[in-house]
Amino acid sequence: MEEEKTPKISVWDLPDVPKGKLPAHLELQRTRVICTPDAATNTENIRYSGAYASMGVDNSLRLGHFRDNFRVEVVRLTEDDMEFDMIGIDASLANAFRRILLAELPTMAIEKVLIANNTSVIQDEVLAHRLGLIPLKVDPRMFEYMSENDVPNEKNTIVFKLHSRCERGSSRIKVLSNELQWLPRGSELTVSTEKPAVDPTSRPRTYTSFNCSQDSLPEFSNNPIGPKHDDIIIAKLGPGQEIELEAHAVKGMGKTHAKWSPVATSWYRMLPEVVLLQEIEGEIAEELVKKCPVKVFDIEDIGKGRKRATVARPRSCTLCRECIRADGKEKEKEQRIYWDKYVALRRVKDHFIFTIESTGALPPEMLFTEAVKILEDKCERVITELS
């Protein structure tokens, strides 16, 4: 007798296999970092385009897909810092933006200090170092880079003067950053030459050659250039001590020296996801809520006096792992709870919480836009090199 042949059905047509989508456990592995009590696992991004080819899922980048899913949500925006969420982007791009913000955005900072007189206890080089670290409130896009052979002129240098003395008989004074005076016409220190000036009425040569006063430029006529904060202590002078110097500020990048970095710092973290694996009720719920130092969990009453734990603020989780650490010696062996059966800590791999703190040269939203532009310029440079 012939056996009845059962019709062959493809595995994709079976009713409970989702077509074109990954099963839940693979989707978890693809999109979440799992934080165990010891370490974080599953951190690598499975970004190879054919990774799930055998399942019929296309992992490749489709620009349309990216455009549809990418979102930015600004959480906080002040003059000096901002916090925003980027959803749908990969870690390599987020890191590239962070690296560019720290090291490749140009700023103006004091580089050369011409010291005429320094009788304070702060050594010359220490004073020059401190002056270099003072953040200046000026848009670096209005200036050009100055190389070794260039003459310092109004397009690539900003000149400041500092002249402070403490009179004999008075008490010690602090030299604050508001005593840095901007000289829009350029340097006032003359370069000494051996030969006497041929023409006594000509202007003596100074260390810079400004063709016009920076005051006359429209950007600077109403907002004078100066340090961002007025109360930075540069030095302290005792009676009879004096500092007289001229400082030249030029454009540079954080790669060369950290004084040229436009951000105090900028960092990102992935969105934490806290999931309760089982229903947690009663006393265990209370214990769980007490464990968390940043109050991620909360108690919810479900009637009849019973309490249940819920996840109230997963975003503020700092991943201290207190909630999944197993109980130790403070409890008897039978009463110890292995918390990682109750709570799962994860991070969403493509949701980044970015924070940018600017030092004052440019507002933070403009800094991020410039950073993205710089990454585009790098790509363009590669393309031109290849063709």
Binding site: S49, M86, S92, L93, L375, C379
Partner: protein, 105 residues
């Protein structure tokens, strides 16, 4: 600088100067997303030299074409990021100024 063979254009190593992880990791990400790529990776031969080697192996297309396409993709991604970000900042500022006006008497 491309190090490859004239006979087999589908695999090559590109040595870029004045670059570091910033561009190389992003390029590696976009390269991986391209279905024509069988292998891609980058390495930095020495941290003191600013030089990056990007290796690309494809399923037949010339490697430099694939790299160029990935750079274009990366530029498009950056432009989209920038426009979305600008829009989000403008929306946030408008929302905040509206809130400030509503709270007032």
């Amino acid at each position: 600088m491309e190090h490859g063979s004239y006979q087999d254009q589908s695999q090559a190593t590109f040595s870029l100067t004045d670059e570091d992880h910033t561009l190389a990791n992003s390029l590696r990400f976009t390269l991986n997303q391209d279905p024509r790529v069988t292998f891609c990776g980058y390495s930095i031969p020495h941290p003191s030299d600013a030089r990056v080697n990007i290796r690309v192996q494809t399923t037949g297309d010339p490697a430099s074409e694939v790299l160029k396409d990935s750079c274009q993709d990366l530029m498009l991604i950056c432009q989209h990021v920038r426009s979305t970000f600008d829009q989000a900042v403008v929306d946030f500022k408008n929302k905040n100024s509206l809130d400030a006006m509503n709270i007032g008497p």
